[in-house]
């Protein structure tokens, strides 16, 4: 507005809302991935492709948020956390949705029939665990608002540390399921092509869990590195 002198220039761009939104996209994407897995098991091609498109779009939107943050967090800003720590953390959080997107394409590569019941169950278990870990992760990111409100009080920081270790524990559980699933897959009577595909999916699902744990770790570094 013309003819207004204002002090608002002193308030810089705050990336924290955008980071929270980005994390919400990660949660939604994994939610959709669980649905896509069920469609894959049912052999519902139409649904598989619909969900692939949805996840792909989400990843694209998340990329836009990431770009927005990277463009706006300039050197002249002073944030309550280190700028490099923040951007580093964002890279890890972005990998969560990147790997989710990789997997959503894999479900479309090949129609796989007659997956043994036990393998199907273990896959489902792994996906539920992923869902659990990403929900815990979102709760961690929710802490940002109260961290800023209390100006990083000790109590809030302690809460964050407890939360990060919960995520690390959940990631370890994912690893265990992943190992069991590998054994089942490699000793099954499935078509070798199916085994290749499922194993690829499995490895990437593991990467989603890993990225989440890495992002949580980077979040902790960012909070403690002030």
């Amino acid at each position: 507005m013309r003819f207004i002198r204002s002090v608002t220039d002193v308030f810089g761009y705050s990336p924290f809302k955008a980071i929270h939104q980005h994390s919400e996209y990660c949660v939604i994407a994994i939610d959709l991935l669980v649905d896509q897995f069920e469609a894959f098991i049912r052999g519902d091609k139409k649904e598989i492709f619909t969900l692939e498109k949805e996840i792909d779009d989400l990843e694209h939107d998340a990329d836009k948020i990431k770009a927005e943050i990277r463009t706006n967090v300039t050197k002249s800003l002073r944030l309550p956390v280190d700028r490099h720590d923040l951007l580093n953390f964002l890279t890890f959080q972005d990998q969560i949705i990147n790997y989710t997107e990789h997997v959503c394409h894999m479900f479309t590569y090949r129609e796989t029939k007659n997956i043994e019941n036990e393998i199907e169950k273990k896959f489902r278990q792994l996906l539920y665990k992923l869902n659990d870990i990403i929900c815990k992760y979102e709760e961690l990111i929710d802490h940002v608002a109260s961290l800023i409100a209390t100006s990083f009080s000790k109590k809030e920081i302690t809460d964050v540390l407890v939360h990060v270790s919960k995520i690390e524990h959940a990631e370890h559980e994912c690893d265990t399921v992943q190992i069991e699933l590998h054994k089942l897959l490699l000793n099954s009577n499935l078509d070798p092509m199916d085994v290749i595909l499922l194993r690829n999916i499995l490895i990437h699902l593991g990467e989603i869990a890993n990225s989440t744990a890495r992002a949580a770790d980077a979040f902790r570094t960012m909070i403690l590195g002030r």
């Binding site: 207004i4 204002s6 002090v7 002073r78 309550p80 109590k155």
Partner: protein, 333 residues
């Protein structure tokens, strides 16, 4: 003739007071609106009354500095002083309006001081006074106060917010703390309005006071300035308060309290010492102080550069504008 000059000076001063109320007073008060400590009506009510009180009861020292402390008016003919005062207040008003249009973070205090220097230099060029008789010592002190005041605001705000953070925020529930500070902020808002009035009234009425020579500035002059500021807040300032307040919602009551306390204390001290400083720059310094104490999600330090640029631009611009207007007035009158 001198009566016409005086009336024109009064009109220009009234405009300047209005502009100060509309923009600077509004900015100082917007912190209370952003944190929802007060409603818009309450803010306008508080600002109008306390800006006036500050100007009327505590504005004479700075007014004296601006009007009589820079140009040795006792060495000049009253007719020349009347012309100079009109040229100074007109150019300060014009410059502030232009700069505001181009979104430069200018200060009315810097503008009026630059304008008075311009008046002094114009008188020197006419061989009416010697260059040495301009009170450079006072100007040096004023310039120093312009550097010290934002720093003082920043340091004070840093200390106040750090104390709140360590002693209160880390121990008690945040929402309850903010709830209490919402009320405390009403007090600091009054404090800011009073301090602002006491310092910035001089930017509007300093030149008029010069025309009264060495006798005390009449109370009605300060009252006129205070009234102009109050009207400025009520007629245009509310828009500024709304616009600014909406953008600074992250200045929660504890943060707003810290910034306001630091700003008002710095500004009122400057008024005590008769130094015409920029309230806005002090407020920016105070907000940065809160930010450095870890109170804000993000502060942009590039604003400091912009403020320094507008500083460097304002002094010569206001001075040259005054010299031009002064010359025109002398030629045509």
């Amino acid at each position: 003739m001198i009566e016409i000059l005086f009336i024109l000076t009064l009109a220009a001063s009234a405009y300047m007071a209005w502009n100060i109320g509309a923009n600077d007073a509004a900015n100082s008060m917007a912190t209370s609106y952003g944190s929802k400590a007060l409603t818009l009506k309450q803010i306008i009510f508080i600002a109008s009354i306390l800006e006036f009180c500050g100007a009327f009861f505590f504005g004479s020292r700075v007014t004296k500095t601006v009007g009589k402390g820079i140009v040795p008016i006792h060495l000049l003919d009253p007719h020349i002083v009347a012309i100079g005062a009109l040229a100074a207040i007109l150019s300060a008003g014009i410059w502030v309006t232009i700069a505001t249009y181009y979104h430069l973070p200018v200060s009315t205090s810097h503008s009026i001081v630059g304008a008075m220097v311009g008046f002094g230099l114009a008188a020197v060029s006419e061989n009416l006074i010697a260059l040495e008789s301009i009170k450079w010592g006072v100007l040096y002190k004023i310039a120093l106060s312009w550097i010290v005041s934002p720093l003082a605001g920043a340091i004070l705000a840093f200390i106040v917010f750090s104390l709140i953070r360590v002693l209160i925020l880390s121990k008690l529930d945040v929402d309850r703390v903010e709830g209490v500070f919402r009320y405390l902020q009403v007090i600091t808002a009054c404090y800011v309005a009073f301090a602002h009035g006491s310092n910035d009234v001089a930017n509007a009425v300093g030149p008029i006071s010069a025309t009264f020579g060495f006798s005390e500035t009449p109370a009605w002059v300060l009252a006129l300035g205070g009234l102009g500021i109050a009207i400025g807040v009520a007629t245009w300032g509310y828009r500024v308060i709304e616009t600014v307040g909406k953008k600074i919602t992250e200045l929660t009551p504890t943060r707003g309290f810290s910034a306001e306390l630091a700003t008002a204390t710095t500004v009122i001290s400057a008024s005590y010492f008769g130094m015409p400083i920029s309230t806005t720059h002090t407020l920016v310094g105070s907000v940065l102080g809160v930010g450095f104490a870890g109170g804000l999600a993000s502060i942009d330090l590039s604003v400091v550069k912009r403020i320094i640029y507008s500083w460097v631009l304002t002094i010569p611009a206001a001075a040259m504008l005054t010299i031009s207007i002064y010359t025109l007035l002398v030629v045509f009158l």
